[in-house]
């Protein structure tokens, strides 16, 4: 954990909402903004942003993602830090953008990508590594279990940062998820192209979630949560799904 190099309020922080959250789960970027502002950040949402290109790239259309990478760099390179409530999209920026640029064959863009990428953070990384906090002053009096999504875990290696943050939440009853590190079966278009296998994987994840007796399933990616939540919903399990940002943004007033 490193202390911030300069006062938090001086950092020019941009929110990368991600197209999926922006469109489908606006509560998550809203929670991210309120959390970061509560911690003293000045957050901007550059309206020109769109998408990291992951869906295209992972489905085999990497060559169509060049314009999105260029846009991403144009929009975000003026900031000190870019924060996204999605391990998967940040993983795509770090792991795929350099490759896409290579595919497109633009050297100047390549060096801009190289410069920008280290400043792009997943939410828990930004909180713990840049702001140097684990207690974000949240209050959430519920039984919670946490699913570490594959891309956070194995691409970004966020490790136990999200758990450090959750453990510091007041009132929380955090219970361990069996087989936590196993993929939930979402995998982008995999959920459609190999729906049967995807559902079989998700069913095991749901079984584990139900074993914990948790009321709320938390993760750092709404895509995985949509898949697991879709299965939980079909089973009428009563378990709610929530993004990490929403739990961390919760305060005593919200719970009243």
């Amino acid at each position: 954990m490193s202390a911030p190099a300069r006062p938090v309020a001086d950092l020019k922080v941009a929110l990368f909402a991600t197209c999926f959250n922006d469109t489908m789960w606006p509560e998550t970027p809203k929670a991210t903004v309120s959390l970061l502002e509560r911690l003293g950040c000045r957050v901007e949402f550059p309206m020109e942003q769109t998408c990291c290109g992951q869906m295209l790239t992972n489905t085999g259309y990497g060559s169509k993602a060049g314009a999105l990478v260029r846009r991403f760099v144009d929009v975000f390179e003026g900031y000190d830090a870019v924060v996204a409530p999605s391990g998967s999209c940040v993983g795509s920026v770090r792991e795929q953008h350099p490759g896409i640029v290579e595919l497109v064959g633009d050297d100047r863009l390549a060096s801009r990508v190289e410069h920008l990428t280290p400043k792009v953070y997943e939410l828990s990384e930004f909180l713990v590594d840049v702001l140097g906090v684990t207690d974000v002053g949240a209050y959430f009096p519920h039984r919670v279990t946490y699913h570490p999504t594959c891309h956070s875990l194995r691409m970004l290696r966020v490790g136990d940062r999200p758990l450090q943050l959750l453990r510091a939440v007041r009132g929380i009853d955090l219970v361990e998820l069996p087989g936590a590190q196993e993929c939930c079966g979402f995998g982008g278009t995999f959920a459609m192209k190999n729906a049967d296998v995807s559902i079989a994987m998700g069913a095991d994840k749901v079984r584990h979630v139900l074993e914990t007796g948790a009321e709320v399933l938390v993760a750092g990616d709404n895509s995985c949560l949509a898949h697991i939540g879709g299965l939980l919903g079909r089973q009428r399990s009563g378990v709610r799904r929530m993004h990490l940002a929403e739990v961390l943004a919760s305060t005593e007033e919200d719970q009243a």
Binding site: F45, T59, Y61, A191
Partner: protein, 489 residues
């Protein structure tokens, strides 16, 4: 020698022609609940063992890098090392043959076996001879090829196909194995005892007695090799049961079929390999048997040694800058054991002797993506990354899968999917278009209201077991513009 072959596979294995796509084969496999149970149990057991013994080695990451570097060095200068290997093998008294494809390799082996005037050979478990379907080729010529690895024997006697690289009978349980032994052993040699139980020790004993008479009789042995050391001309086989050593030392003639990617530059390079392989594959610190043979030694071991160096699509893979890392594979099967997709479908769904994550990349690489099964394999992954973490030679399998998806897409040309992706790219490349699409979605959301969505035409694959998230009435972007308008540029 030349390491250039024209394009991917001239020869496609007959067994798998007409194989359904992965999603279709997977659906059938998922319905086999006994197999799913067997697979889950077996993969989780090996997975746990591997994790424990890997954690014992503090320099594991450095070993992985050393292993990857040794293989990369060999692959980067493959022509040179193969020439060196040929020279050292020859000077040690072995005969080297070159085979461009499966057909050529099978013909070479068949000619040698025929020249010995025998009608049977004993075999050490080897992936490469399965890849070229050597047993079938020998069988067609009236020569029996006896598999001597226990699991391989189970598969052979069961008229089955292997479903795992290392544990080919992983999909079978003990009572199934007992039945196979009782039914089949007598038809090809010493029968299983009538009072055979499904006790593992009794099953192994039955196999041992059945195989022993074959070992003692056989004049010709056939093997692959885990490694081929260029500077010393040494071939290496790593195994657990001792059957391999019997095959490698008892027969007068030994034929080893070796993929050209098996070469490593020097004797020193074996050091990381022999640490990486057993820990990754069986979760053992050291495998029970490591047999190394260097040419011919008078009065000791086989008096005639043939080595068939096989290309079969490998030089095509080598030519692919991103794809060539797959040739580092040492067939440890660690990636299979950690793969959540393999765990549920088993190996048969991959339509090849190379199943699991490495199969999903290697098959389309070696065979090309002309067939429906090979086109579907790069998508047989959720890209969870567990395979990359487990791989002892650091093959970035998710990266390769994505790369291959690109090739499939390019080959397919215009499809409904490519039209949808082009449309998505068009919408996402402009924030105004994205906002427009969001507004349309919000309208749809209002129409649907807060009812839980159970099915949507075209989204059957999603909704047959999962609810769809309800659409919000306002995107984040709209909210921000409304609340924090000053930032709206």
């Amino acid at each position: 020698m030349s390491t250039t072959t024209p394009g991917p596979l001239q020869q496609t294995s007959a067994t798998f022609v007409g194989m359904p796509t992965f999603p279709q084969a997977a659906r059938a496999a998922l319905a086999n609940t006994q197999q799913r149970k067997n697979l889950r149990h077996a993969t989780h057991t090996i997975r746990g063992k591997r994790e424990r013994v890997v954690a014992e080695v503090p320099e594991w990451e450095a070993l992985r890098v050393a292993g990857a570097e040794a293989k990369d060095e060999a692959l980067t200068h493959l022509g040179d090392y193969l020439e060196q290997l040929e020279a050292s093998l020859t000077s040690n008294g072995a005969t080297v043959h070159w085979a461009r494809d499966a057909q050529e390799a099978n013909r070479i082996v068949l000619d040698i076996v025929r020249s010995k005037e025998v009608d049977e050979v004993v075999k050490v478990k080897s992936m490469v001879t399965q890849e070229i379907e050597l047993n079938e080729a020998l069988e067609a010529a009236g020569i029996h090829a006896w598999e001597t690895d226990l699991a391989e024997l189970i598969v052979q006697l069961g008229h089955d196909r292997p479903s795992h690289i290392l544990v080919p009978a992983i999909h079978r349980n003990r009572s199934e194995i007992r039945e196979i032994f009782l039914r089949e052993m007598g038809t090809v040699g010493r029968p299983a005892p009538d009072d055979l139980t499904d006790d593992p020790a009794r099953l192994a004993e039955a196999a041992r007695l059945h195989l022993r008479e074959k070992f003692l009789r056989a004049k010709v042995g056939v093997s692959g090799a885990n490694f081929a050391v260029a500077d010393t001309g040494t071939l290496v086989v790593v195994e657990s049961e001792g059957n391999g050593r019997m095959c490698l030392t008892l027969p007068e003639t030994l034929i080893s079929v070796v993929g050209i990617e098996k070469v490593i530059p020097s004797w020193e390079d074996l050091a990381p390999m022999l640490q990486l392989l057993p820990r990754s594959s069986t979760g053992e610190r050291m495998n029970p048997y490591t047999t190394m043979w260097t040419g011919v030694h008078e009065g000791d071991g086989p008096q005639e040694v043939h080595v068939v160096l096989l290309d079969n699509g490998r030089s095509h893979v080598l030519a692919d800058r991103v794809g060539r890392q797959a040739l580092r594979c040492i067939r440890c099967s660690a990636c299979l054991n950690v793969c959540p997709v393999y765990e549920r479908t088993g190996g048969h769904a991959y339509g090849s002797v190379y199943p699991g994550p490495i199969g999903a990349v290697l098959n389309p690489q070696l065979r090309g993506t002309a067939s429906t099964i090979d086109k579907s394999l790069p998508y047989a992954s959720s890209l969870c990354g567990a395979c990359f973490d487990a791989c002892p030679v650091r093959i970035n399998i998710p990266e390769l899968l994505v790369e291959l998806r690109g090739q499939v897409v390019e080959q397919e040309g215009r499809t409904a999917e490519s039209a949808a992706m082009r449309a998505a790219a068009w919408v996402l490349s402009d924030p105004k278009r994205l906002a427009g699409a969001q507004k349309a979605a919000a309208t749809a959301g209002r129409v649907v209201g807060t009812r839980t969505v159970r099915s949507v035409p075209g989204l059957g694959a999603w909704t047959n077991a999962r609810d769809l998230p309800t659409l919000p009435t306002e995107s984040f972007r709209q909210w921000w513009a409304r609340e924090r308008g000053e930032d709206d540029r």
